[in-house]
Amino acid sequence: MTAMPTETFTLTIGNLSRELPLVRPTPTTRLPLVEFLGDTQLVKAAANATVALIPEGTQVLFTCETSSIPYVHSLAEIMNLPYEVARKRRRPYMHDPIIQDVQSMTLGVGETLWLDLRHAANLRGKNITIVLDVVASGGTIASLEKMILRAGGKPHGRVAAFSHGQPKIEIAVMQQLPILDSRS
């Protein structure tokens, strides 16, 4: 059981600010925990600030569940673009889904992404830009790009609202969040 974090990091986007709790993914590091679910104002501010990062020629936005979904919905609405969501579980209504493993960064635990054939069809022949709330090692991005290729789409861009530290892959990030050591 984790203890209630008391220290916070102040996030500012435009004239909106949030006190993000610091969590400890390892005994020696602390990260600000940003959460889009439940915070419509933060989502709106982040989506507005992300529009300029979406490469020209993008035809479809692509993300994976869950915490990125309201952010990508808002971005899609502002830009009048369709979006698709890779799911983390197989659902009974999926037929011939694209199934892609992810080497997850945070816990070293593998994950699997699922994209129903009906949705994969919407990526085919299109310029697809991946949009995530937070990018860490880039493992999820790599898997989403494989899914785009398997669906017959063209990977066109990589965008994230936040990164923890300097991203290890090439990606447009709205704001970099610090990785703090345990004593700083």
């Binding site: 209630m4 439940g38 419509t40 869950t66 919905h73 979006y83 969501v85 579980r89 009974p92 949705h119």
Partner: protein, 189 residues
Amino acid sequence: MPNAVQYKIVKTHSVQIGSLTRELPVISVAPGVAVALLNLLGDTELTEEAGKALAALLPKGIEVLVTPEVKAVTLAHVISRILGIPYIVARKTQKPYMFEPVTREVLSITTGKPQLLVIDGFDIPKIKNKSVAVIDDVVSTGGTLRSLSALITDIGGSVNATLAVFTEGDPRDDVIALGHLPLYLGEKG
């Protein structure tokens, strides 16, 4: 033109939400059971339209919205944004960063497997002693709804309304919905 990703919908069910019409694919989900599949994820226009219509139907006095992960998250987001009422997502897995989460198991008929509903301890003060509306995309057997309501009650919230885009199967009057979907039994979707 040959391609790997091609999908042909055999049968559809037409629905109207506000000014929008959608042809929902009728998809088989189990032997002898097919559903008209509503998909809000990726359909920004429909989500906004449904959210607007449901926001207008939300009973007075509701202080917080709770939605189960995943498919109704954008719907709850839209209603929350329109009315300025906060929303909370009940997650399906416990996250390492959660603080004293509370959980409840759901026995879902459609997935066939027990599922977990989890509310982060951080969110409990936002639900405790509050008037809660549950938001979902489609309410069918009501299994998720019952578990989620029990979980909310456990942590001291009172569930005073349930809103969904559609009810499905047997008509029910305990859910505020914009329409009703048939359940297709004994035929192939």
